[in-house]
Every structure is written in structure tokens, then in C-alpha cells.
Symmetry: C2
Subunit: 157 residues, 2 copies
DNA sequence: TTAGAATATCATATCCTCATGATGATGTCA
DNA sequence: TGACATCATCATGAGGATATGATATTCTAA
């Protein structure tokens, strides 16, 4: 259902969300904790930062933080950076025309199913997936380590 | 949603079903009609024959036929030979344990969605996808070209 | 028995995903 | 200023999905 990379990304975002009260999460630390190859994760993290999901900070005390509160990050924002979730083809068969025209009952049902999948990813937020950890649900921004200065927010080149 | 190969397989099966009254469908003919690479399709067809979806006949007058009536072939029988449809992971994150234990509402929803997808593929048949073609729905076995003798039904090696 | 029709299979080639190792760039802190 | 921590990036490669071309095999029909 999800590519390896997208799953990595989701697990990583969950990790960062769950450890937000400890300040920025380091790539090294997450790679070890989540059993994800170090350098591969690095690239995935970078893509998440570019995509506006994370902010990154270099140097001592640096690492990755969520760019928004977990409740404001739909799963699609994470997964969509790696996999194509939106149903590009309404028709199961990739036929260009077909679809709902000749009233094919099966197509209607397929449309329903595929829309449900898409809706799940766009309506479920990161907060919805967070287990009973130290920080749960929204992060009120109170008792957290301060964000270092040069934080990168969806930098553009 | 579906791999290229699985989509080819589905379109091919649909083609064979729609042309059942013309006798066995030849690989060459289908490759041209469906714009699928000839030899690649050949392998896909072979896999479908091994999987019990098609029967193949060599030599003059040979080609491919459905092994059963279209209504008796769920889409899963076709697609499942190429893609993994059944939700191997109940947990979206690939966590081994997690899942429904700590009552995570999102997981319940995900389970619902993924089961719907699986159900669609197992409950929808090839006949359900057939358009208004020459042969529609079940093939009553009446006015058809006779099946040549040495037809291969899910040959095993 | 032989020619031809058609599938079956083999040997490659290309591209993408996933992965690894090494190095560069940039920030903090003493 | 210099040491160090940390992210950013490059070069490379294994493996699978997709694809192509050539050849082998098997069957029918005359």
C-alpha cells in the first residue's frame, strides 16, 4: 500500500512528534531507534523539510522538528511527498475514456473505494496516529526546548 | 494502485472475455489491440495460465481462453497473481505489534478502508467489468469455436 | 512428414527504488 | 579561532519491474 520510503517517512514523523518535548530529533538517533538506514533516512528527512512538514537545524543542538502541530499535518502531507495517493485514474483499467459513461456498476464501486482511501489520508492527521506517548495530540508550545535560530522552513533553492 | 503488469493482465483478461465468441485470442492480436509489448504480454499470459485463470493452446488455431466463466473469476484471481492485495500489515506503519491494542482510532479506520479495498477485489468479478460487448456476462458455451484438444489448464511443472 | 502457426523461454537492457559510504557545508560552543 | 556536532550532498551499486529481441518448442493441417 505504501512504499518503503513513505513508510519510513511516516514512522519518522511520528517519532519526531512523540519526542517534541526533547527538542530537535537527530537523524542519527532516529535511524538507530527506527532501524532505518542512516543516509537513506537523511535524504527522506531532507525531502520532508523541503515539503514543509519538518524544519531542520544544523550544528550542535540541531535536528528536526515538526513545522506545524501534529493535528495540522494530514497523513497525505507526509505520504504524498513519496507516493501517489490521489487516484489519477478514476478507471481501474487505465482506460482513458470509459469510466462512468456506460453505466458500469463496478466502476462506481471502484470509485467509491478509491475515494475512501484518498479521504483517509487527507482527513487523518499525524496527531490521530500518535500513541499514548509523553506528548500527545497538540503540542501547546509551552515546555519545549527553544528552536535554534537558523531553522530551515521548506527552503527553496 | 495497480502495478503496470497487473493492469495489463486485467485488460487482457477483459479482452479475452469480450472476444470469447471468436475462439482463442492470440497473443499477437491482443498485444496490438491493447498496445502492450508483445513479449512482455506473453509472459503475463503465461502466468495467468499457470494461475488457472486462462487456458492456452499452441499451434494453429491456438491462443488463450478463459478457464472459467467471467462471473466466476474475481478480480483478485487476476490481480493477485501480480500484486499483493491482501493487507499483509494491518498496521499502516508496519509496526509488528501495535495495531488495535492501544485503542488507536485511526487504526480502526485504516483497517476499515483497507478491508474495503480487499473486499472490492474479491467480490467484483470479471463479468462485472465487461462493457456492452459482443459477449456479455456469462458465456453459455453455445455458439463458440470448439476448444482445441491439448488445452493447458494451470499446468504444473 | 513437413511447413507454418502460435506459444514458451532465454538473454539482455533500462529505469526506478532502496541502500551504502564518503565527503562537503554549516552551525554551536569553548 | 578552532574543534566538533550535525545536516546536506555526491558517487556508487544491488535488485526488481518493465521492456525488447532472438530462439526453442509444440501443435495443426495438408
Amino acid at each position: 500500500m505504501l512504499s518503503q520510503t513513505a513508510e519510513y517517512a511516516l514512522r519518522t514523523v511520528l517519532y519526531i512528534a512523540g519526542h517534541a518535548d526533547e527538542g530537535p530529533a537527530r537523524a542519527e538517533e532516529m535511524a538507530a531507534a527506527l532501524r532505518i538506514p542512516r543516509n537513506y533516512l537523511s535524504k527522506t528527512l531532507h525531502r520532508l523539510a523541503h515539503g514543509g512538514v519538518l524544519t531542520s537545524t544544523r550544528g550542535r543542538g540541531g535536528g528536526f522538528l515538526l513545522a506545524r502541530s501534529p493535528a495540522d499535518i494530514p497523513l497525505l502531507a507526509v505520504v504524498g511527498l513519496f507516493d501517489q495517493i490521489e487516484p489519477r485514474r478514476q478507471c481501474l483499467l487505465g482506460r482513458p475514456v470509459c469510466s462512468d459513461q456506460h453505466a458500469c456498476e463496478a466502476h462506481v464501486q471502484w470509485k467509491d473505494v478509491s475515494e475512501r482511501v484518498a479521504r483517509f489520508f487527507s482527513e487523518t492527521s499525524v496527531a490521530d496516529l500518535m500513541g499514548p506517548g509523553p506528548t500527545r495530540g497538540k503540542v501547546p508550545g509551552g515546555a519545549r526546548a527553544p528552536v535554534p535560530k537558523g531553522a530551515t522552513v521548506a527552503r527553496r533553492r
